[in-house]
Subunit: 219 residues, 2 copies
DNA sequence: GCTAAACGCGAATAAGTAGTCGCTTACAAG
DNA sequence: CTTGTAAGCGACTACTTATTCGCGTTTAGC
């Protein structure tokens, strides 16, 4: 019943003309997706936006979802490039600064492509997992994992690294996304500060004597 | 272009027979939505699942989205009832226990209705804001707001209550949802513990002198 | 300039969709 | 039983959709 999410080209473009056409298709699809959403992005509309015939879409893509998947893969590549550059740029910096810079870069990128981001968040479930976006998320998570494992004794000694990583990834990811998509009346700097406080408060050593701390066994 | 999200009945059912029919429609719609998703829930399919004619749908609902909206409203009412009962039951308890019980109840409810929850998370944006679900979220947020304001001096003195509430709501909400929908290999108790640690670590007094958070600005 | 393949077109197809309407059936009051 | 109205039916409409296919056009190599 479900179609395989093949995103390979049906036919390999050989002349310049056709290579430009594939580009035009993907650009138009990106635009139409951003403006009209997944359901509004009909093949006819994409073809019209690209200034080509709908039939020509099927010269290079086996079906509509392959076009969408390629658009989103491209976007994931873009994100990976930008964030990768940011990571390299912060290689020597202390982790708080590096994390902060990375977070800032991520939110900036999300803001820049908010429309496309919305499509991804809302429609990806039905497109099945997107390999490149998953890879990107895994890459970022691994980065944090390495740090956590190397500095284990600086943190709560009962910290379960895998659980913590899942929670942190989920938290930082979705808070960034929801901030960009829902635009709550909170300045961007504030969100970054608060997210940083959330993360640090979670992994740092243990509570000061005053507070009651963990909520188990109250005597 | 957009249709008003009217969810009122087109015609008020007067006989028992027709009241049962409205029930049958909503039950069938819930089932079909859970199993086939929004796009797969065609009016014909809903009618077939209810064992009635498609024409009869339009006796009581002005259009398809009104059916869906009613299903989701009903679900929101169910959640509100259950969580409301939990809140009442914990009225005297210390806040850590009360919060924990509420969180536990919420995750339990989500697990029980995971299919419907998935539809809501993935399809709600195009239905426009769902009043009853928003009301529920506001109700829970207000509960926490009251607590935060009453006990302000027990926490970080620089805590921005509005920003903190937004972050906390987003975090607790989406982590619960993603936990139920993505089923990471983490036991349920662990997730609740970790979420509690995350929240407490975020709002509690300030960090111990050893660690160097960037974000302190201790005046 | 010729030819064969690559390219591109757009009308046509087949499958679905939400929503309507004239009709029949069930009910309840007199 | 008769009659007015509520309830229910299902074929039908008007439309949109993704995808195909035969045919004309452009290109590259000779």
């Amino acid at each position: 019943m479900d179609r395989p999410p093949a995103r390979s080209l049906r036919r390999v473009p050989q002349q310049d003309r056709s290579r430009r056409m594939v580009e035009r298709i993907l650009d138009a699809a990106t635009r139409v997706l951003s403006e009209h959403g997944y359901d509004g992005a009909s093949t006819n509309r994409i073809a019209a936006a690209a200034g080509i015939s709908n039939g020509s879409l099927y010269q290079y893509f086996p079906h509509k979802d392959a076009i969408v998947a390629t658009v989103l893969d491209r976007f994931a590549d873009h994100l990976a490039d930008q964030l990768g550059a940011q990571i390299e740029a912060s290689l020597g910096a202390p982790w708080q600064e590096a994390g902060r810079a990375l977070l800032e870069a991520q939110i900036g990128l999300f803001e820049e492509h908010a429309d496309l981001l919305r499509i991804i968040v809302e429609q990806v479930p039905r497109l099945g997992p997107l390999d490149k976006l998953n890879a990107l998320q895994r890459r970022l998570t691994d980065l944090v994992r390495v740090y956590l494992l190397l500095n284990r004794r600086a943190f709560r000694d009962d910290l379960d690294v895998d659980a913590a990583l899942w929670i942190l990834a989920e938290t930082v990811g979705t808070v960034s996304i929801r901030y960009v998509l829902d635009r709550p009346p909170i300045p961007r700097e504030k969100i970054i500060d608060e997210l940083a406080a959330l993360v640090v408060g979670y992994i740092r050593a243990q509570e000061p004597p005053g507070s009651t701390g963990r909520m188990n066994v109250r005597s």
